[in-house]
Amino acid sequence: MAATSTVGGVLERLRQTRAWKSIFRRGPALTNRTRSLAVFGNLFLHFLPVKVREKSLRVRASYYLGSISFLLFIILAVTGVLLMFYYHPAVPQAYRDMKDLQFVVSNGVFLRNLHRLAAQLMVLIVFWHMFHVFYRGGYKPPHEFNWVVGVVLLIVTLFLSYTGYLLPWDQLAFWAITVGTNILSAMPIIGKRVRFESLGGNVVGANALLRFYVLHCVVLPLIAIMLIAVHFWRVQKDGGLTVREEPEGDDEKGL
Protein backbone atom coordinates (compact mmCIF):
# COMPACT_ATOMS: atom_id res chain seq x y z
CA MET A 1 0.00 0.00 0.00
CA ALA A 2 3.05 2.23 0.15
CA ALA A 3 2.86 3.21 -3.51
CA THR A 4 -0.84 4.10 -3.58
CA SER A 5 -1.82 7.62 -4.51
CA THR A 6 -3.78 9.83 -2.17
CA VAL A 7 -7.07 8.96 -3.87
CA GLY A 8 -6.26 5.28 -3.63
CA GLY A 9 -5.36 5.68 0.02
CA VAL A 10 -8.61 7.45 0.81
CA LEU A 11 -10.57 4.74 -1.00
CA GLU A 12 -8.67 2.09 0.88
CA ARG A 13 -9.49 3.68 4.21
CA LEU A 14 -13.11 4.13 3.13
CA ARG A 15 -13.30 0.41 2.45
CA GLN A 16 -12.25 -0.32 6.01
CA THR A 17 -15.10 1.72 7.53
CA ARG A 18 -18.01 -0.04 9.17
CA ALA A 19 -20.52 1.74 6.93
CA TRP A 20 -18.81 0.52 3.74
CA LYS A 21 -18.51 -2.99 5.04
CA SER A 22 -22.18 -3.01 6.04
CA ILE A 23 -23.18 -2.10 2.47
CA PHE A 24 -20.85 -4.30 0.43
CA ARG A 25 -19.98 -7.01 3.00
CA ARG A 26 -17.31 -8.55 0.78
CA GLY A 27 -13.71 -7.40 1.04
CA PRO A 28 -11.84 -5.60 -1.75
CA ALA A 29 -12.23 -7.36 -5.12
CA LEU A 30 -8.71 -8.69 -5.23
CA THR A 31 -9.47 -12.40 -5.38
CA ASN A 32 -11.76 -14.30 -7.75
CA ARG A 33 -13.97 -15.15 -4.78
CA THR A 34 -14.65 -11.52 -3.87
CA ARG A 35 -14.99 -10.64 -7.54
CA SER A 36 -17.70 -13.27 -7.87
CA LEU A 37 -19.37 -11.93 -4.74
CA ALA A 38 -19.31 -8.46 -6.28
CA VAL A 39 -21.60 -9.76 -9.03
CA PHE A 40 -23.96 -12.23 -7.42
CA GLY A 41 -24.04 -10.46 -4.09
CA ASN A 42 -25.44 -7.36 -5.75
CA LEU A 43 -29.09 -7.08 -6.75
CA PHE A 44 -28.35 -4.92 -9.79
CA LEU A 45 -25.46 -7.03 -11.06
CA HIS A 46 -26.71 -10.53 -10.31
CA PHE A 47 -28.55 -10.55 -13.67
CA LEU A 48 -25.10 -10.60 -15.24
CA PRO A 49 -22.63 -13.46 -15.46
CA VAL A 50 -19.77 -13.92 -13.00
CA LYS A 51 -17.50 -15.16 -15.75
CA VAL A 52 -17.52 -14.30 -19.44
CA ARG A 53 -15.74 -15.88 -22.35
CA GLU A 54 -12.78 -13.91 -23.52
CA LYS A 55 -14.10 -14.16 -27.09
CA SER A 56 -17.48 -12.66 -26.24
CA LEU A 57 -15.80 -9.52 -24.88
CA ARG A 58 -14.25 -8.67 -28.24
CA VAL A 59 -15.84 -5.74 -30.01
CA ARG A 60 -16.71 -7.70 -33.15
CA ALA A 61 -18.59 -10.32 -31.13
CA SER A 62 -21.40 -7.91 -30.29
CA TYR A 63 -20.29 -4.33 -31.04
CA TYR A 64 -21.77 -3.90 -27.53
CA LEU A 65 -25.09 -3.17 -29.26
CA GLY A 66 -27.17 -4.72 -26.47
CA SER A 67 -25.26 -2.72 -23.89
CA ILE A 68 -25.69 0.47 -25.92
CA SER A 69 -29.46 -0.17 -26.21
CA PHE A 70 -29.71 -0.57 -22.44
CA LEU A 71 -27.53 2.48 -21.74
CA LEU A 72 -29.69 4.54 -24.12
CA PHE A 73 -32.73 3.35 -22.17
CA ILE A 74 -31.10 4.63 -18.95
CA ILE A 75 -30.25 7.98 -20.57
CA LEU A 76 -33.83 8.22 -21.85
CA ALA A 77 -35.25 7.46 -18.40
CA VAL A 78 -33.14 10.18 -16.77
CA THR A 79 -33.77 12.87 -19.40
CA GLY A 80 -37.41 11.75 -19.59
CA VAL A 81 -37.99 12.26 -15.87
CA LEU A 82 -36.36 15.70 -16.07
CA LEU A 83 -38.63 16.60 -19.01
CA MET A 84 -41.66 15.41 -17.03
CA PHE A 85 -40.97 18.18 -14.50
CA TYR A 86 -41.75 20.75 -17.20
CA TYR A 87 -44.57 19.01 -19.04
CA HIS A 88 -48.36 18.95 -18.75
CA PRO A 89 -50.19 16.38 -20.88
CA ALA A 90 -52.94 18.82 -21.80
CA VAL A 91 -54.07 20.63 -24.94
CA PRO A 92 -52.65 23.16 -25.77
CA GLN A 93 -50.48 23.48 -22.63
CA ALA A 94 -48.22 20.65 -23.88
CA TYR A 95 -47.11 22.79 -26.82
CA ARG A 96 -46.57 25.83 -24.57
CA ASP A 97 -44.35 23.66 -22.38
CA MET A 98 -42.25 22.93 -25.47
CA LYS A 99 -41.93 26.67 -26.00
CA ASP A 100 -41.00 27.08 -22.34
CA LEU A 101 -38.30 24.45 -22.73
CA GLN A 102 -37.04 26.49 -25.67
CA PHE A 103 -37.09 29.95 -24.13
CA VAL A 104 -37.56 29.74 -20.35
CA VAL A 105 -36.07 26.55 -18.88
CA SER A 106 -32.29 26.50 -18.43
CA ASN A 107 -30.80 24.02 -20.88
CA GLY A 108 -34.35 23.03 -21.88
CA VAL A 109 -33.46 22.80 -25.56
CA PHE A 110 -30.43 20.66 -24.78
CA LEU A 111 -32.51 18.36 -22.59
CA ARG A 112 -35.09 17.85 -25.31
CA ASN A 113 -32.44 17.41 -28.00
CA LEU A 114 -30.72 14.75 -25.91
CA HIS A 115 -33.97 12.86 -25.24
CA ARG A 116 -35.01 12.94 -28.87
CA LEU A 117 -31.59 11.98 -30.19
CA ALA A 118 -31.25 9.08 -27.76
CA ALA A 119 -34.76 7.89 -28.68
CA GLN A 120 -34.04 7.88 -32.43
CA LEU A 121 -30.71 6.20 -31.83
CA MET A 122 -32.28 3.56 -29.60
CA VAL A 123 -34.68 2.48 -32.37
CA LEU A 124 -31.75 2.26 -34.77
CA ILE A 125 -29.46 0.40 -32.36
CA VAL A 126 -32.16 -2.07 -31.28
CA PHE A 127 -32.81 -2.95 -34.95
CA TRP A 128 -29.08 -3.30 -35.58
CA HIS A 129 -28.73 -5.44 -32.44
CA MET A 130 -31.40 -7.82 -33.68
CA PHE A 131 -29.91 -8.15 -37.16
CA HIS A 132 -26.43 -8.67 -35.74
CA VAL A 133 -27.66 -11.37 -33.38
CA PHE A 134 -29.42 -13.04 -36.29
CA TYR A 135 -26.36 -13.05 -38.56
CA ARG A 136 -24.25 -14.52 -35.76
CA GLY A 137 -26.81 -17.29 -35.22
CA GLY A 138 -27.52 -16.00 -31.71
CA TYR A 139 -31.14 -17.20 -31.93
CA LYS A 140 -30.18 -20.88 -32.06
CA PRO A 141 -30.82 -23.25 -29.13
CA PRO A 142 -30.56 -22.74 -26.22
CA HIS A 143 -31.19 -19.04 -26.99
CA GLU A 144 -34.62 -19.43 -28.68
CA PHE A 145 -36.71 -17.93 -25.92
CA ASN A 146 -34.40 -14.97 -25.42
CA TRP A 147 -34.70 -14.20 -29.12
CA VAL A 148 -38.49 -14.04 -28.68
CA VAL A 149 -38.09 -11.72 -25.67
CA GLY A 150 -35.82 -9.59 -27.85
CA VAL A 151 -38.44 -9.34 -30.62
CA VAL A 152 -41.04 -8.22 -28.04
CA LEU A 153 -38.51 -5.67 -26.70
CA LEU A 154 -38.09 -4.32 -30.23
CA ILE A 155 -41.86 -3.81 -30.48
CA VAL A 156 -41.93 -2.15 -27.04
CA THR A 157 -39.09 0.15 -28.17
CA LEU A 158 -41.07 1.14 -31.26
CA PHE A 159 -44.19 1.81 -29.19
CA LEU A 160 -42.16 3.85 -26.69
CA SER A 161 -40.78 5.97 -29.49
CA TYR A 162 -44.14 6.28 -31.20
CA THR A 163 -46.09 7.32 -28.07
CA GLY A 164 -43.39 9.91 -27.33
CA TYR A 165 -43.79 11.32 -30.81
CA LEU A 166 -47.23 12.80 -29.99
CA LEU A 167 -46.24 14.56 -26.77
CA PRO A 168 -44.87 17.88 -28.20
CA TRP A 169 -48.36 18.45 -29.69
CA ASP A 170 -47.09 20.26 -32.76
CA GLN A 171 -48.12 19.72 -36.38
CA LEU A 172 -45.44 17.05 -36.88
CA ALA A 173 -46.65 15.06 -33.86
CA PHE A 174 -50.35 15.43 -34.55
CA TRP A 175 -50.27 14.31 -38.18
CA ALA A 176 -47.74 11.52 -37.66
CA ILE A 177 -50.04 9.98 -35.05
CA THR A 178 -53.11 10.62 -37.22
CA VAL A 179 -51.48 8.80 -40.13
CA GLY A 180 -50.30 5.94 -37.91
CA THR A 181 -53.52 5.33 -36.04
CA ASN A 182 -55.59 5.53 -39.23
CA ILE A 183 -53.87 2.28 -40.22
CA LEU A 184 -55.36 0.62 -37.13
CA SER A 185 -58.88 1.07 -38.45
CA ALA A 186 -57.94 -1.15 -41.42
CA MET A 187 -58.01 -4.11 -39.04
CA PRO A 188 -60.99 -6.28 -39.91
CA ILE A 189 -64.05 -6.07 -37.60
CA ILE A 190 -62.26 -4.66 -34.52
CA GLY A 191 -60.28 -1.93 -36.36
CA LYS A 192 -62.51 1.04 -35.52
CA ARG A 193 -62.82 -0.16 -31.93
CA VAL A 194 -59.05 -0.54 -31.48
CA ARG A 195 -58.44 2.92 -32.87
CA PHE A 196 -61.11 4.40 -30.60
CA GLU A 197 -59.62 2.73 -27.53
CA SER A 198 -56.06 3.79 -28.28
CA LEU A 199 -57.03 7.41 -28.94
CA GLY A 200 -59.80 7.71 -26.37
CA GLY A 201 -61.98 9.09 -29.15
CA ASN A 202 -62.46 9.18 -32.90
CA VAL A 203 -59.79 11.79 -33.56
CA VAL A 204 -56.38 12.63 -32.11
CA GLY A 205 -57.28 15.01 -29.28
CA ALA A 206 -56.77 15.73 -25.60
CA ASN A 207 -57.70 12.17 -24.60
CA ALA A 208 -55.20 10.70 -27.02
CA LEU A 209 -52.48 12.95 -25.63
CA LEU A 210 -53.21 11.81 -22.07
CA ARG A 211 -53.29 8.13 -23.07
CA PHE A 212 -50.05 8.35 -25.01
CA TYR A 213 -48.48 10.22 -22.09
CA VAL A 214 -49.42 7.54 -19.57
CA LEU A 215 -48.29 4.77 -21.91
CA HIS A 216 -45.03 6.59 -22.67
CA CYS A 217 -44.10 7.50 -19.10
CA VAL A 218 -45.52 4.63 -17.04
CA VAL A 219 -46.86 1.53 -18.76
CA LEU A 220 -44.32 0.93 -21.53
CA PRO A 221 -41.20 1.76 -19.44
CA LEU A 222 -42.37 -0.71 -16.77
CA ILE A 223 -42.90 -3.43 -19.38
CA ALA A 224 -39.52 -2.60 -20.91
CA ILE A 225 -37.72 -2.79 -17.54
CA MET A 226 -39.23 -6.19 -16.76
CA LEU A 227 -38.41 -7.60 -20.19
CA ILE A 228 -34.88 -6.17 -20.10
CA ALA A 229 -34.34 -7.92 -16.77
CA VAL A 230 -35.53 -11.22 -18.23
CA HIS A 231 -33.45 -10.63 -21.36
CA PHE A 232 -30.21 -10.03 -19.41
CA TRP A 233 -30.85 -12.86 -17.01
CA ARG A 234 -31.52 -15.31 -19.82
CA VAL A 235 -28.32 -14.36 -21.66
CA GLN A 236 -26.48 -15.61 -18.59
CA LYS A 237 -28.72 -18.65 -18.01
CA ASP A 238 -28.48 -19.72 -21.65
CA GLY A 239 -24.72 -19.90 -21.45
CA GLY A 240 -23.58 -16.46 -22.51
CA LEU A 241 -23.12 -14.88 -25.92
CA THR A 242 -22.87 -17.10 -28.97
CA VAL A 243 -19.21 -17.41 -29.85
CA ARG A 244 -17.48 -19.36 -32.55
CA GLU A 245 -15.30 -22.36 -31.95
CA GLU A 246 -12.87 -21.21 -34.62
CA PRO A 247 -10.75 -18.06 -34.20
CA GLU A 248 -12.75 -14.85 -34.19
CA GLY A 249 -11.58 -12.98 -37.19
CA ASP A 250 -13.99 -13.82 -39.90
CA ASP A 251 -17.21 -13.09 -38.10
CA GLU A 252 -20.00 -14.14 -40.40
CA LYS A 253 -18.43 -17.43 -41.43
CA GLY A 254 -19.87 -20.67 -40.16
CA LEU A 255 -23.40 -19.40 -39.55
Binding site: A38, E54, Y64, L117, F131, G137, P141, Q171, L172
Partner: protein, 237 residues
Protein backbone atom coordinates in the same frame (compact mmCIF):
# COMPACT_ATOMS: atom_id res chain seq x y z
CA UNK B 1 -25.29 -39.79 1.61
CA UNK B 2 -22.43 -40.37 3.99
CA UNK B 3 -22.47 -40.16 7.71
CA UNK B 4 -20.65 -36.83 7.63
CA UNK B 5 -23.73 -35.04 6.34
CA UNK B 6 -25.61 -35.51 9.56
CA UNK B 7 -23.80 -32.60 11.13
CA UNK B 8 -25.46 -30.21 8.68
CA UNK B 9 -28.85 -31.44 9.72
CA UNK B 10 -28.51 -30.32 13.30
CA UNK B 11 -31.49 -27.97 13.29
CA UNK B 12 -33.95 -30.04 11.31
CA UNK B 13 -32.92 -33.60 11.91
CA UNK B 14 -36.51 -34.72 12.28
CA UNK B 15 -37.40 -33.35 8.82
CA UNK B 16 -34.45 -35.09 7.26
CA UNK B 17 -35.68 -38.41 8.57
CA UNK B 18 -39.03 -38.02 6.91
CA UNK B 19 -37.81 -36.65 3.57
CA UNK B 20 -35.34 -38.34 1.29
CA UNK B 21 -32.15 -36.33 1.22
CA UNK B 22 -31.41 -35.15 -2.25
CA UNK B 23 -29.13 -32.22 -2.75
CA UNK B 24 -29.39 -31.90 -6.50
CA UNK B 25 -31.33 -33.77 -9.13
CA UNK B 26 -30.16 -33.41 -12.71
CA UNK B 27 -31.77 -35.02 -15.69
CA UNK B 28 -30.72 -34.63 -19.23
CA UNK B 29 -34.06 -33.23 -20.32
CA UNK B 30 -34.45 -30.42 -17.81
CA UNK B 31 -30.95 -29.03 -17.53
CA UNK B 32 -30.07 -26.02 -19.66
CA UNK B 33 -28.29 -27.05 -22.80
CA UNK B 34 -25.27 -24.86 -22.33
CA UNK B 35 -22.75 -24.81 -25.14
CA UNK B 36 -19.41 -26.17 -24.19
CA UNK B 37 -16.05 -24.59 -23.83
CA UNK B 38 -15.27 -21.93 -26.42
CA UNK B 39 -12.06 -20.50 -25.15
CA UNK B 40 -10.84 -19.14 -21.85
CA UNK B 41 -13.11 -17.26 -19.46
CA UNK B 42 -12.51 -14.03 -17.59
CA UNK B 43 -14.07 -12.59 -14.45
CA UNK B 44 -16.94 -10.25 -15.37
CA UNK B 45 -15.70 -8.00 -12.56
CA UNK B 46 -13.61 -6.16 -13.71
CA UNK B 47 -13.17 -7.25 -17.35
CA UNK B 48 -16.78 -6.89 -18.53
CA UNK B 49 -17.76 -3.96 -16.31
CA UNK B 50 -14.80 -1.79 -17.25
CA UNK B 51 -15.75 -2.24 -20.91
CA UNK B 52 -19.39 -1.40 -20.20
CA UNK B 53 -18.24 1.73 -18.35
CA UNK B 54 -16.10 2.79 -21.31
CA UNK B 55 -19.01 2.19 -23.71
CA UNK B 56 -21.25 4.29 -21.47
CA UNK B 57 -18.78 7.18 -21.30
CA UNK B 58 -18.13 7.22 -25.05
CA UNK B 59 -21.88 7.06 -25.70
CA UNK B 60 -22.68 9.95 -23.35
CA UNK B 61 -19.88 12.11 -24.78
CA UNK B 62 -21.04 11.41 -28.35
CA UNK B 63 -24.72 12.05 -27.54
CA UNK B 64 -24.01 15.28 -25.66
CA UNK B 65 -21.78 16.61 -28.45
CA UNK B 66 -24.44 15.96 -31.07
CA UNK B 67 -27.35 17.16 -28.90
CA UNK B 68 -25.60 20.50 -28.35
CA UNK B 69 -26.11 21.57 -31.94
CA UNK B 70 -28.63 19.21 -33.55
CA UNK B 71 -32.02 20.72 -32.71
CA UNK B 72 -35.07 18.55 -32.16
CA UNK B 73 -37.72 19.82 -34.58
CA UNK B 74 -40.72 21.76 -33.31
CA UNK B 75 -43.38 22.95 -35.73
CA UNK B 76 -46.51 25.05 -35.26
CA UNK B 77 -49.17 24.13 -32.69
CA UNK B 78 -51.18 21.07 -33.76
CA UNK B 79 -54.04 22.10 -36.02
CA UNK B 80 -56.58 19.43 -37.07
CA UNK B 81 -57.85 21.75 -39.83
CA UNK B 82 -54.49 22.18 -41.55
CA UNK B 83 -53.21 18.93 -43.08
CA UNK B 84 -49.58 19.08 -44.18
CA UNK B 85 -48.82 17.49 -47.54
CA UNK B 86 -47.33 14.95 -47.25
CA UNK B 87 -48.22 13.94 -43.67
CA UNK B 88 -45.45 11.55 -42.69
CA UNK B 89 -45.17 9.02 -39.87
CA UNK B 90 -41.92 8.73 -37.81
CA UNK B 91 -39.02 7.52 -39.99
CA UNK B 92 -39.13 3.90 -38.75
CA UNK B 93 -42.73 3.58 -40.00
CA UNK B 94 -42.09 5.23 -43.37
CA UNK B 95 -41.35 1.83 -44.91
CA UNK B 96 -44.90 0.83 -43.96
CA UNK B 97 -46.27 4.12 -45.26
CA UNK B 98 -44.49 3.48 -48.55
CA UNK B 99 -46.15 0.04 -48.67
CA UNK B 100 -49.52 1.72 -48.04
CA UNK B 101 -48.95 3.64 -51.25
CA UNK B 102 -49.07 0.35 -53.21
CA UNK B 103 -51.26 -2.01 -51.23
CA UNK B 104 -54.63 -1.64 -49.48
CA UNK B 105 -54.41 -0.67 -45.77
CA UNK B 106 -55.42 -4.13 -44.61
CA UNK B 107 -52.47 -5.70 -46.45
CA UNK B 108 -49.80 -3.04 -45.91
CA UNK B 109 -50.83 -1.84 -42.47
CA UNK B 110 -52.03 -5.00 -40.75
CA UNK B 111 -51.22 -8.26 -42.56
CA UNK B 112 -47.60 -7.56 -43.60
CA UNK B 113 -46.45 -6.16 -40.20
CA UNK B 114 -48.19 -9.04 -38.39
CA UNK B 115 -46.51 -11.58 -40.66
CA UNK B 116 -43.13 -9.90 -40.12
CA UNK B 117 -43.49 -10.08 -36.33
CA UNK B 118 -44.67 -13.70 -36.43
CA UNK B 119 -41.85 -14.50 -38.86
CA UNK B 120 -39.25 -13.00 -36.53
CA UNK B 121 -40.61 -14.84 -33.49
CA UNK B 122 -40.64 -18.29 -35.09
CA UNK B 123 -37.11 -18.08 -36.57
CA UNK B 124 -35.41 -20.19 -33.84
CA UNK B 125 -38.18 -22.82 -33.86
CA UNK B 126 -37.60 -24.03 -37.39
CA UNK B 127 -35.12 -26.81 -37.76
CA UNK B 128 -34.02 -25.56 -41.17
CA UNK B 129 -32.92 -22.25 -39.60
CA UNK B 130 -31.10 -23.91 -36.73
CA UNK B 131 -29.40 -26.38 -39.03
CA UNK B 132 -28.27 -23.60 -41.36
CA UNK B 133 -27.48 -25.78 -44.40
CA UNK B 134 -26.24 -23.78 -47.39
CA UNK B 135 -29.19 -23.16 -49.74
CA UNK B 136 -27.54 -24.32 -52.96
CA UNK B 137 -25.75 -27.40 -51.63
CA UNK B 138 -28.31 -30.19 -51.69
CA UNK B 139 -31.23 -30.76 -54.10
CA UNK B 140 -29.90 -28.00 -56.33
CA UNK B 141 -32.36 -28.61 -59.20
CA UNK B 142 -35.45 -28.79 -57.01
CA UNK B 143 -34.42 -25.78 -54.95
CA UNK B 144 -33.82 -23.78 -58.11
CA UNK B 145 -37.31 -24.55 -59.45
CA UNK B 146 -38.96 -23.60 -56.16
CA UNK B 147 -36.89 -20.41 -56.09
CA UNK B 148 -37.75 -19.46 -59.68
CA UNK B 149 -41.46 -20.14 -59.17
CA UNK B 150 -41.52 -18.01 -56.01
CA UNK B 151 -39.58 -15.24 -57.74
CA UNK B 152 -41.95 -15.32 -60.74
CA UNK B 153 -45.06 -15.02 -58.57
CA UNK B 154 -43.49 -12.22 -56.50
CA UNK B 155 -42.32 -10.32 -59.59
CA UNK B 156 -45.73 -10.56 -61.26
CA UNK B 157 -47.52 -9.46 -58.11
CA UNK B 158 -45.17 -6.51 -57.49
CA UNK B 159 -45.15 -5.43 -61.13
CA UNK B 160 -48.96 -5.68 -61.32
CA UNK B 161 -49.32 -3.40 -58.27
CA UNK B 162 -46.52 -1.18 -59.65
CA UNK B 163 -44.62 -1.54 -56.36
CA UNK B 164 -41.30 -0.62 -57.97
CA UNK B 165 -39.57 0.28 -54.72
CA UNK B 166 -40.26 -3.24 -53.44
CA UNK B 167 -39.55 -4.94 -56.75
CA UNK B 168 -36.12 -3.39 -57.24
CA UNK B 169 -34.47 -4.61 -53.98
CA UNK B 170 -36.25 -7.97 -54.39
CA UNK B 171 -34.70 -8.49 -57.83
CA UNK B 172 -31.33 -7.35 -56.48
CA UNK B 173 -31.29 -10.04 -53.78
CA UNK B 174 -32.69 -12.62 -56.23
CA UNK B 175 -29.84 -11.76 -58.59
CA UNK B 176 -27.32 -12.39 -55.83
CA UNK B 177 -28.97 -15.74 -55.12
CA UNK B 178 -28.74 -16.74 -58.79
CA UNK B 179 -25.13 -15.53 -58.84
CA UNK B 180 -24.38 -17.82 -55.89
CA UNK B 181 -26.08 -20.69 -57.77
CA UNK B 182 -24.23 -20.08 -61.02
CA UNK B 183 -20.76 -19.77 -59.47
CA UNK B 184 -20.78 -23.05 -57.58
CA UNK B 185 -17.45 -24.03 -59.12
CA UNK B 186 -15.66 -20.98 -57.79
CA UNK B 187 -14.63 -20.23 -54.23
CA UNK B 188 -13.20 -16.70 -54.44
CA UNK B 189 -14.40 -13.88 -52.19
CA UNK B 190 -18.06 -13.00 -52.90
CA UNK B 191 -19.06 -16.24 -54.61
CA UNK B 192 -17.53 -18.57 -52.05
CA UNK B 193 -19.17 -16.64 -49.25
CA UNK B 194 -22.62 -16.45 -50.83
CA UNK B 195 -22.64 -20.18 -51.67
CA UNK B 196 -22.48 -21.10 -47.97
CA UNK B 197 -25.47 -18.94 -46.99
CA UNK B 198 -28.54 -20.82 -45.70
CA UNK B 199 -32.12 -19.98 -46.68
CA UNK B 200 -32.75 -18.06 -43.43
CA UNK B 201 -29.81 -15.78 -44.26
CA UNK B 202 -31.27 -15.03 -47.69
CA UNK B 203 -34.76 -14.32 -46.37
CA UNK B 204 -33.43 -11.98 -43.66
CA UNK B 205 -31.12 -10.22 -46.10
CA UNK B 206 -34.03 -9.75 -48.49
CA UNK B 207 -36.19 -8.37 -45.67
CA UNK B 208 -33.49 -5.94 -44.49
CA UNK B 209 -32.73 -4.76 -48.05
CA UNK B 210 -36.40 -4.10 -48.80
CA UNK B 211 -36.92 -2.41 -45.41
CA UNK B 212 -33.93 -0.09 -45.88
CA UNK B 213 -34.93 0.85 -49.45
CA UNK B 214 -38.57 1.50 -48.46
CA UNK B 215 -37.59 3.56 -45.40
CA UNK B 216 -35.06 5.60 -47.39
CA UNK B 217 -37.55 6.22 -50.20
CA UNK B 218 -40.30 7.18 -47.74
CA UNK B 219 -37.97 9.53 -45.88
CA UNK B 220 -36.09 11.27 -48.69
CA UNK B 221 -37.91 10.70 -51.99
CA UNK B 222 -41.57 11.32 -51.24
CA UNK B 223 -43.24 14.71 -51.55
CA UNK B 224 -46.76 16.13 -51.90
CA UNK B 225 -49.37 13.45 -52.59
CA UNK B 226 -46.65 10.85 -52.01
CA UNK B 227 -45.22 11.73 -55.43
CA UNK B 228 -41.58 11.03 -56.25
CA UNK B 229 -39.27 13.96 -55.48
CA UNK B 230 -35.50 14.28 -55.42
CA UNK B 231 -34.10 15.24 -52.05
CA UNK B 232 -32.01 18.05 -53.54
CA UNK B 233 -34.93 19.73 -55.32
CA UNK B 234 -37.01 22.12 -53.19
CA UNK B 235 -40.56 21.04 -52.59
CA UNK B 236 -43.40 21.82 -50.25
CA UNK B 237 -43.55 19.63 -47.17
Amino acid sequence: MTKRDSKYEAGFGSDAKKDPVRVVFITKKTSAKVTGDAGPQLMAYPHLFIREAIVFMVLVIALVSVALFWEAPLEQLANPLLTPNPAKAPWYFLGLQELLHYFPPLVAGIIIPTLVVIGLIVIPYFHVNVQGQPLWRTNRKRTLWIFLATLFVLTCQLAYTRAWTVLLPTELVAGLMLYAYATSSRSDAPAGYLQTRPVSWWVMTWFITVAIVLTAVGTFFRGPGWSWVWPWSSHAG
